[in-house]
Amino acid sequence: MEETIKFQLNGKKTEALIDPTQTLLWVLRNHFGLTGTKFGCGMGFCGSCTVLIDNEPVRSCQLSVGEAAGKNVVTIEGLATNGKLHPVQKAFVEHDALQCGFCTPGMIMNATGLLLKNPSPSTLEINNGMENNLCRCGAHLRIIEAVQTASKEMKGGK
C-alpha cells in the first residue's frame, strides 16, 4: 500500500514512504509535524486546514497526499522567510486580526492565495475570497483590514 510520494513542501524537496490515500491534513500534521494546519471540521466547510498547492488555497482535509505528488505545498510554517513574517502574517499581528487563533493559519493561507492571484483586491473581492473560511470569535472586520494592509505592502505601495 505504501508508496514514495515526492513533493515540494515549504520550499524543500520532500519525500515520504506513505499510504497515498491518507489525508494530506493528517500527513502534514502527524508525519511532518506541521501542526499549524488545523483540523476544524474534516469536511471542507471551515477552511482551518487551508494550505497552498501550486499557489492555490486548498483544503487539506479534502485531499489525499497522493494528489499532492509532484506539487508545491506551502503551509503556515513555510510563509515566514529567515524569521521574517510574511506580509499577511505581519498584517494579522498589526491589526489584532485574531482571537483564539485556531482559524488563523487557514485564514492567512487563504488570504495569501487570494493576494497571489489578485494583488489589489477590492473590499468586496476580499470578502468573497474569504467567505468560506469560518471564524467563530468574530475577527472578520480585522481580518479584512489585515488583508487590505498586506495587499498594499506586497505591492510595495506602503
Partner: protein, 717 residues
C-alpha cells in the same frame, strides 16, 4: 455505595493540599518571592457541586512569583481561549508591581501549578479574579520594598519604584533591581486579606491599548493547541457514538474494524473505541463497527419544543416583584401581550473538544481544550477513582470556548482510554461529535404582558420566562408595577429539555434581551413615539441612558416614528456588570425575506477598561457572533437526534455578513472593571428585530429570523 467510597477516598486526603506538594513545587520553580493566597471567597464555595467543594485545596496554592531574574509570573487557573486575558492580566500585574508589562509571564490552566479556579466563564477573570491578583501583587511589592529598604539603608518612605528598580529618591545612584533583591532568596508570604479598593486612575499600563501578546505564535502556526501535542507511542482514538441521545446499545460487531491495519478495539462497558497510530485509519475503522440500538426518546422536536415547555409541570419562582400588576393594568391605556421563542444553539468553536491523556506510573496527565481545568480534574478523579494529586490537567491554547468547553467529556474519555490502552491517547472530536455532545444554549419561551398610559409611560410589566435562564431578565426600565416569574425544571419531574444545555456566551441574556427590547419597541410604535425617545422617557438608570445617548451619537441617529422604512433599530441591556446599547440598520429583501445588516453601532460601559483595544475586539466579536443567533443558527432535532451536525447545515456568520461596525467604550476610570467579553452580544437579536420592524412593519417573535420567518411576518403586515 459509590458515593460513600468517594467520600472516604477524599477524607484520606483531607489534610493534604491537593495538587502538587509545596516542596515539590519549589523544586520545579527554584527560588524567588512567592505570594500564596486563596483566589476565591468562602461564600462562593456554597454554590459549588459537592465533589468540587470537597476537592478544593485546604491549603494556599502558589499564585505569584518573582523569580531570581526579576521576571514576574502569574499562575492562574483561568485559561486563554481568545478573550485576551493573556494580555490584559499582565497589564494589571505590571501596574501593581511597577515592572514593564513584557516582564510579566502567565502560567495558565495547569492544575498542578496554578491556584484552584472554578472555570473561565461569566466574564469573571477581570472583575472577580483581577482584584485578588492585584492584592497579591501589592503584597509582593511590599516585600520587595522592605528588602530594598534594608539593603539600601534608607526608610521605605524614601524609596521609589520604576520598571522593576527600587531607587533612593535622595540619592538616585543608590538603587537595586527586583532581580538583585530576589537572587538566592526563597521568601514565602501568605496573603489572607481582602483586596483593598483601588484608585483606578493611577495606573500606567491599565487603561492603555495593547496588542495580543500571543499573536506572533498564532500567525506562524507555532501556538500549541491540545491537538498539536505529540508523545512517543501515541495513538489516535475514535469512539463509537449512538445515533441519538437516549439510544441504548443492544448489539455490536467490531470484527470489521479490527481488519483495518494497526487498529485495536478497546471496550469498557458502553465505551467502545478504536485506536490507531494513524488518524485516517482510526476514522476508517470506527465506520466499520456495526452497532444496533434501542430507542426511548422524548416525543418532541425543534418545532414542538415551545408548546412542550409551556405545557410542562414546572417549578414556579417569582424572581422580582414591585407594585401591583392589576393596578398597573387599570392605569394602562394600551395593553400588549407577546410570546417570544428562542431555539437551542450550538457553540461551534472551530477547535473541537480535544484531549490528550497519558498515564505514567500512577499519574494521569490530561492536556485538554477546556474552560475548566479543575472541573475536568475533579471529573477524572470521580470517574476513574484516582486520588486528586494523581491527576494533572494542563490547558494549552484553547481554540474558542464560548461556554461550550465548560464541560469536558472528551478529557474523561481520553483519560479512560489512556488507562485502558497504556498509551498516550489523542482524542479530537469530529465536527459531528461536537454538535452531538454540545451543551446547547437552552431553548426558551418568554411571555410578556405590559401596558402604557396615554403619555407613553410603562405602567405594568408582567414577565414570564420558561426554561431559559434568568440572566438579563431584569426589567431595567422604571416601571411602577412589575413581576418577573421563572418557570423551570421541577425537582423530580422528568427533564423538560430533551438536550443537554449549558452556558452560551452571555448565557440566556440573548433570549431575555430579545424579548424585552422587542416588547419595548412594540409599545413605542403603538404609542406613536420615536423608539429612542420612548426608552429615554421610561428609563431612570443613568448608565443605560448614557449608553443610549452615546450610541445614538455615534450612529448619527435621526428621530422618527417606527416603522419608517429606514430599517433602523435600537436595543439596550445589561450583562456581567456592564451596560450596553445598540443601533443597527438593515435592508430587507421583501421578495426573498433575506435580511442584510448594513451597520451596527454599540456603546458599552464596563467600568474601568483594562485594555481598550482588547475590549473593542471583544465587542466586534460579540456583534459578529450575535448575527448568527439572530439570523441563522438553530439546532434542529427530533427526539434525541440532532439533525444539523455540520457547518453546511448549521450556518454561522460568514464574511459577507460583516456590517459596518462602530464601537464606543464609555470612559469610567473611577469604577471597578466589569465583564467585557459578553455584553455586546446580548442586544443583537433585538436590535435587528427592531430594525426589521422599522424597515417593513413586520414583527418577528422567533429567533433566528430566517428568510422564511421574515416572509411569514411580512404577510401579517
Amino acid at each position: 455505595m459509590k458515593e460513600e467510597q468517594i467520600k472516604n477516598q477524599d477524607h484520606q486526603h483531607n489534610d493534604k493540599p491537593h495538587g502538587m506538594e509545596r516542596r515539590d513545587f519549589f523544586k520545579i520553580l527554584g527560588g524567588g518571592i512567592f505570594i500564596f493566597f486563596r483566589p476565591w471567597k468562602a461564600i462562593d464555595l456554597f454554590g459549588l457541586p459537592a465533589e468540587q467543594g470537597r476537592s478544593l485545596p485546604k491549603d494556599y496554592n502558589a499564585f505569584l512569583r518573582i523569580a531570581e531574574d526579576g521576571t514576574v509570573t502569574c499562575f492562574t487557573g483561568k485559561i486563554e481561549m481568545g478573550q485576551g486575558i493573556i494580555t490584559s492580566l499582565p497589564q494589571m500585574m505590571a501596574d501593581e508591581l511597577n515592572v514593564p508589562v513584557e516582564k510579566v509571564k502567565m502560567v495558565m490552566g495547569d492544575t498542578d501549578l496554578c491556584p484552584y479556579d472554578q472555570g473561565t466563564w461569566g466574564s469573571m477573570s477581570t472583575r472577580v479574579f483581577g482584584p485578588y491578583m492585584r492584592a497579591a501583587a501589592a503584597e509582593a511589592r511590599g516585600v520587595l520594598v522592605d528588602l530594598a529598604s534594608t539593603q539600601l539603608g534608607v526608610p521605605v518612605s524614601q524609596l521609589e519604584i520604576r520598571d522593576g528598580i527600587i531607587t533612593d529618591t535622595k540619592n538616585p545612584k543608590n538603587s537595586v533591581s527586583y532581580a538583585q533583591l530576589t537572587k538566592g532568596k526563597k521568601i514565602e508570604k501568605f496573603l489572607d486579606v481582602k483586596p483593598a479598593v483601588e484608585d483606578y486612575t493611577k495606573f500606567t499600563y491599565v487603561g492603555k491599548s495593547y496588542k495580543r501578546s500571543d499573536a506572533v505564535l498564532k500567525v506562524t502556526g507555532e501556538a500549541k493547541y491540545t491537538g498539536d501535542l505529540t508523545l512517543p507511542g501515541m495513538v489516535f482514538a475514535r469512539i463509537l457514538r449512538p445515533p441519538s441521545h437516549g439510544a441504548k446499545l443492544t448489539s455490536v460487531d467490531y470484527s470489521g474494524a479490527e481488519k483495518i491495519t494497526g487498529t485495536k478495539v478497546v471496550r469498557e462497558g458502553d465505551l467502545i473505541a478504536v485506536i490507531n497510530e494513524n488518524r485516517d485509519k482510526a476514522d476508517e475503522a470506527i465506520a466499520k463497527i456495526k452497532a444496533e440500538y434501542s430507542f426511548n426518546e422524548l416525543p418532541v422536536n425543534d418545532k414542538t419544543i415551545f408548546e412542550w415547555m409551556l405545557k410542562a409541570d414546572s417549578s414556579v419562582k417569582v424572581l422580582r416583584s414591585n407594585g401591583d400588576l392589576e393596578t398597573g393594568r387599570k392605569l394602562s391605556d394600551k395593553v400588549f401581550e407577546s410570546e417570544f421563542h428562542d431555539p437551542y444553539l450550538a457553540h461551534t468553536a472551530i477547535e473541537t473538544h480535544t484531549a490528550f491523556a497519558r498515564l505514567e506510573g500512577d499519574k494521569m496527565t490530561v492536556w485538554a481544550s477546556t474552560q475548566s481545568p479543575f472541573g475536568l480534574r475533579d471529573d477524572i478523579v470521580r470517574e476513574l477513582r484516582f486520588p486528586a494529586e494523581k491527576v494533572r490537567v494542563i490547558t494549552p491554547f484553547v481554540g474558542g470556548g464560548f461556554g461550550g468547553k465548560g464541560e469536558s467529556q472528551q478529557g474523561i474519555e481520553a483519560a479512560k482510554l489512556a488507562k485502558l490502552t497504556g498509551k498516550p491517547v489523542m482524542l479530537a472530536w469530529t465536527r459531528d461529535e461536537e454538535f452531538f455532545y454540545d451543551t446547547f444554549h437552552p431553548a426558551g419561551v418568554v411571555k410578556i404582558k405590559s401596558g402604557i398610559d396615554k403619555s407613553g409611560l410603562i405602567k405594568f410589566w408582567d414577565y414570564n420566562l420558561y426554561y431559559s435562564g434568568s440572566r438579563g431578565s431584569d426589567t431595567l426600565y422604571d416601571v411602577p408595577n412589575s413581576k418577573t416569574t421563572h418557570y423551570d425544571q421541577k425537582n423530580g419531574a422528568s427533564p423538560v429539555h430533551p438536550l443537554a444545555t449549558g452556558a452560551w456566551r452571555a448565557p440566556n441574556n440573548n433570549t431575555n434581551t430579545f424579548a424585552r427590547e422587542s416588547q419595548i419597541d412594540i409599545m413605542a410604535a403603538a404609542a406613536g413615539i420615536d423608539p429612542l425617545e420612548f426608552r429615554l422617557k421610561n428609563l431612570k438608570d443613568e448608565n443605560l441612558i448614557a449608553c443610549l445617548k452615546a450610541v445614538a451619537d455615534k450612529f448619527g441617529y435621526v428621530a422618527g416614528k417606527s416603522p419608517s422604512g429606514r430599517g433602523i433599530g435600537i436595543a439596550l441591556g445589561s450583562d456581567a456588570g456592564a451596560w450596553v446599547a445598540h443601533m443597527a440598520e438593515v435592508k430587507v429583501d421583501k421578495n426573498s425575506g433575506k435580511v442584510q445588516v448594513v451597520r451596527i453601532a454599540c456603546a458599552q460601559n464596563m467600568g474601568l477598561c483594562v485594555n481598550p483595544e482588547g475590549a473593542t475586539i471583544q465587542m466586534e466579536g460579540c456583534i459578529m457572533m450575535g448575527l448568527g443567533y439572530t439570523l441563522t443558527e438553530e439546532v434542529l432535532f427530533e427526539g434525541g437526534n440532532i439533525q444539523n451536525r455540520g457547518f453546511d447545515s448549521y450556518t454561522i456568520p460568514h464574511f459577507s455578513w460583516l456590517p459596518k461596525i462602530d464601537t464606543v467604550i464609555l470612559e469610567r476610570k473611577d469604577k471597578p472593571p466589569q465583564g467585557g467579553g459578553e455584553p455586546a452580544i446580548i442586544g443583537i437579536g433585538a436590535v435587528v428585530a427592531n430594525a426589521i420592524f422599522n424597515a417593513t412593519g413586520a414583527r418577528l417573535f422567533r429567533l433566528p429570523m430566517t428568510p422564511a420567518r421574515v416572509l411569514e411576518a411580512l404577510k401579517k403586515v
